[in-house]
């Protein structure tokens, strides 16, 4: 039985990753999950310098999901390399995908160049879709010209393959996927969070300090599957699918729709072993359905 998948020449032992920002750099969850068993660890977004993020409350529950407005708090790329990458050294079987954020093209470039010679970094995921950053972030991800341009810039400086992470808050996700492909992206990942809002009716005020937050969790899964399906039929670069994946069925759905690999985000918060549970569910499915190679199910539902 083969569970290996390859994206832009990088071979992952299996298609299960966790989603950026939901797993730190794996440290905290290593008490629950043997990181060496994951396809990849995808780190929390890293910027050129430390970012303080948004004021609290940053988190609120919504039905079958949550809103977050962390605002990309992170220690900056220096501390990240010294601490997080060093920590990840010990997990040789697992690939490391570093999620990169920035307020401007220059900031992305700075991070990408700092990471260029870090051997522990197998791939870069460029977050052009975080809805919680005012100046840059989502603006990039909602304009195809900007997507193509930033992709081209980042690609020209990056030593590792680059995955462009797309925002679902767009009229036509296919246009964004094609823009990333045109810019030279090695792969795309989707979906980032959908912008939502919750109001406290007793206090008559926003629940989140940031007013809006990014919605994630099982509630968004049908939208994510639709978008992955649309992109799979619009571009020929591989797709990392995510959004609400909670059970192995959700992951298989995403792969049938066209994802080469999948990321598990919010589910970690209520099931710290979600990634490995999903992996073993997929393995059982393969046995039951006589699937020799996981690659044979990618995108077969048309």
């Amino acid at each position: 039985m083969n569970t290996k998948v390859t994206i832009a020449g990088v071979e992952f032992q299996n298609p299960i990753m966790e989603a950026s920002g939901t797993f730190g750099s794996g440290m905290e969850y290593s008490e629950f999950v043997d990181l060496n068993k994951l396809g990849a660890v995808v780190t929390k977004g890293v910027a050129n310098v430390p970012w303080p993020g948004n004021p609290t409350p940053r988190i609120t529950e919504v039905r079958s999901g949550m809103l977050n407005a962390i605002g990309l708090q992170n220690p900056g790329v220096e501390v990240f390399c010294e601490r997080d990458l060093k920590f990840l050294e010990q997990y040789k079987n697992t690939k490391v995908v570093v999620n990169v954020c920035g307020h401007s093209a220059e900031e992305y470039i700075e991070v990408v160049e700092r990471l260029a010679d870090e051997s522990r970094v197998d791939m870069l995921e460029i977050n052009i879709s975080c809805p919680n950053v005012k100046e840059g972030g989502i603006a990039f991800g909602q304009d195809p010209k900007a997507v193509e341009e930033i992709t081209r810039l980042v690609k020209s400086r990056a030593k590792q393959p680059i995955v462009m992470k797309l925002s679902p808050n767009v009229t036509d996700i296919k246009v964004m996927a094609k823009a990333a492909e045109a810019g030279g992206a090695d792969a795309i990942s989707l979906i980032n969070t959908l912008t939502g809002m919750k109001i406290d009716v007793e206090r008559q005020n926003f629940v989140l300090a940031n007013k809006t937050g990014g919605m994630s969790g099982p509630a968004v899964h049908p939208i994510a599957v639709r978008m992955v399906y649309e992109c799979a039929n619009a571009v020929s670069i591989p797709i990392i699918g995510m959004g609400g994946i909670t059970t192995w069925e959700d992951a298989v759905e995403m792969m049938l729709a066209g994802a080469t690999a999948v990321s598990v985000g919010t589910a970690n918060f209520f099931n710290p072993t979600a990634t490995l549970d999903i992996l073993s569910g997929i393995e059982d499915y393969m046995v039951r359905k006589n699937i020799e190679d996981i690659n044979s199910i990618i995108g077969i539902v048309k």
């Binding site: 993020g53 949550m66 708090q73």
Partner: protein
């Protein structure tokens, strides 16, 4: 060592209007210390995030944990219907817990901040004075505190029991002194206790609250402002779930 597992409900009882005591059989007890908390999950697939609840009592002999909570929303409302034998998903122990210090300690609890002080009071090495604040005469846990502390002072908002006023009023009125104070309760109370401690040059630990998602330090959802740069992100944000919930009153912005 953190565990996520199905705990068995051994006992649940109502202590006061809307306040319940829940005793759970769970191996989380093996590593739990006072001031830590557990995440309790709902059986309802539409309510996914944990409800963080402080540990009120630890009984390693029986393998049980006790928590005391107030019904404030849909999640805690559902918990209040749990019956003996029911199973419920829990994760813990989470957070750092209280350091056990001092020869003379004051433990201060306000409202639903009272429960975590019980196990702390039991485990503290020195003499313990408890100061508890309630809204009115619908008290809870006071009898149990009486058994384990040297002195117990009560303050109520309406003056129906003990002193009319706040816990700090009670502390001032009784000229309480100590070499360490531990406090849990609403932010304004923590602020007042911290001020009192500063005035009197007493070391003071406060237990903080924030909305949580992961409960283990990964999501950065639950930060509070710290005076010094934090270890994780180097931006003066400490994670309540991981770096806390217990902080020195002087290291955080209250």
């Amino acid at each position: 060592m953190k565990i996520k597992e199905k705990a068995v409900v051994l006992w649940q009882e109502k202590l006061a209007e809307g306040v319940y005591s829940l005793t759970l059989e769970t191996s989380i007890v093996d590593h739990a210390i006072p001031g830590q908390f557990i995440s309790i999950f709902s059986n309802d697939g539409s309510k996914l995030l944990p409800r963080p609840i402080s540990i009120c009592e630890i009984n390693k002999d029986y393998g049980t944990l006790r928590v005391v909570y107030r019904v404030v929303g849909a999640g805690t409302e559902k918990f209040s219907h749990l019956k003996m034998g029911d199973k419920i998903e829990v994760m813990g122990p989470l957070g750092n817990g209280f350091p056990l210090e001092g020869r003379n300690a004051i433990v201060v609890g306000g409202g639903i901040g009272v429960p975590p002080m019980l196990e702390l009071a039991k485990q503290l090495p020195g003499t313990v004075t408890a100061v508890m604040g309630y809204r009115n005469n619908d008290l809870f846990l006071t009898e149990e505190f009486e058994k384990v502390v040297a002195n117990l002072f009560i303050a109520t908002d309406d003056g129906s029991v003990g002193i009319r006023g706040t816990v700090v009023d009670a502390m001032r009125e009784n000229d309480l002194v100590a070499d360490v104070i531990y406090a849990c309760g609403p932010k304004p109370m923590l602020r007042a206790v911290a001020d009192f401690a500063l005035e009197n040059q007493i070391r003071c630990y406060v237990s903080m609250e924030e909305r949580m998602a992961c409960g283990v330090g990964a999501c950065l959802g639950c930060v509070c402002k710290s005076k010094e740069v934090d270890d994780h992100s180097h931006v003066n944000n400490k994670r309540v779930c991981k770096d806390g919930p217990v902080f020195l009153s002087t290291e955080v912005v209250l």
